[in-house]
Point group: C2
Chain length 206, copies 2
């Protein structure tokens, strides 16, 4: 895609900000991007964690980004002008189909996350998160166990709708129950995927 220009961001950098005019959207080629929504009082909800192959910054409302995006690690991505892309896709069925498929996939995952946050208990949510993350890493980045999180407890909390203390306690509980082994603060070995999946009560789909 000649329309795309490669760009880089450092961990913590903002790729796009909710409420600002929509310019580019991005296809991630390296690293992790958190998509989130900020409330007036500072509360934050991460609604998606995107990695290699994912589009982000595409969703708009009244000409502005609807969510914000921040780099969880150093990130590389291709930027596309949304306006030009949309015009182009209107004449290229394959592109439009690919876009539809990406959005459909994300909608499936986001619906799943909504169900997790709405119904599961704290430890179940964290268990789901671990399975989901390890699945994505393995699938997209060929990552092998143990799982390197790349997210702080606060970031996991913002993703799961919990406080960071509760996330920490949930880790301890999963450890004590023998579901996982914690290696330092940023690595986790899942002892038995199936057993953890049963605990979570949800077939975790990547």
């Amino acid at each position: 895609m000649a329309l795309g220009a490669a760009r880089r961001w450092s961990k913590g950098d903002v790729l796009f900000e909710a409420g600002t005019p929509t310019g580019h959207f991005y296809k991630v080629t390296k690293g992790l991007v958190a998509i989130f929504r900020l409330f007036e009082d500072g509360r934050r909800q991460i609604v998606g964690i995107h990695t290699i192959g994912d589009l982000c910054g595409y969703i708009e409302h009244n000409g502005t980004y609807h969510f914000s995006g921040v780099a969880l690690t150093d990130v590389e991505a291709c930027g596309f002008d949304r306006r030009r892309f949309t015009a182009f896709a209107a004449r290229h069925a394959d592109l439009a189909s690919a876009l539809a498929e990406d959005m459909t996939e994300k909608l499936r995952r986001t619906g799943e996350s909504m169900a997790v946050i709405g119904q599961l208990k704290a430890s179940e949510r964290v268990g789901y998160f671990l399975l989901q993350l390890s699945g994505i890493y393995a699938d997209r980045m060929g990552a092998k166990p143990p799982l390197r999180l790349n997210l702080s407890r606060q970031e996991i909390a913002d993703y799961l709708g919990l406080s960071l203390e509760t996330v920490s306690r949930a880790f301890t509980k999963l450890k004590n129950r023998g579901f996982v082994v914690l290696i330092g603060h940023d690595e986790v070995a899942i002892v038995d995927r199936q057993r953890l999946a049963d605990f979570v009560m949800l077939e975790v789909t990547i």
Copy 2:
């Protein structure tokens, strides 16, 4: 679309069920459809409420529906064979674009709902729900105040990740604070949209 065949369902009927082979997806022409995910122990999360113009039953995983759909009211919809549609859309950019746009819109709303469930308190969630529902009804069905809910307290609870008792208490609280007036059990008059929107701390987008 000659591919589509009109069908009808009565309130409570299941349109499609998660885990069963994907056949048709539907474009709603009348009524309300709840999209949900069921957990092994009976807990349920409604991840979307679809109405006129919305596609539903499109999301699949390994050849099966990923969510279930149930009629909240009597429903009419056009059914499309997913396999044939996908093949057809691959050659028709306008169709593929329309699909992408529908999915993008739903992803935006679902992300928003995820943020609401993850961060807001019970009454704020119910306030958000009322604003969202009245917005959708007005936009899609030209409905005028007062708002007719068409959902039971249990259904609202399943949508907002709460218990039905908490939803009921939230209604009472919103009533006592003067945000809404309750008319019977199924109708609500929003006294001041803006004031309720401020309470919810989120610009509610349809």
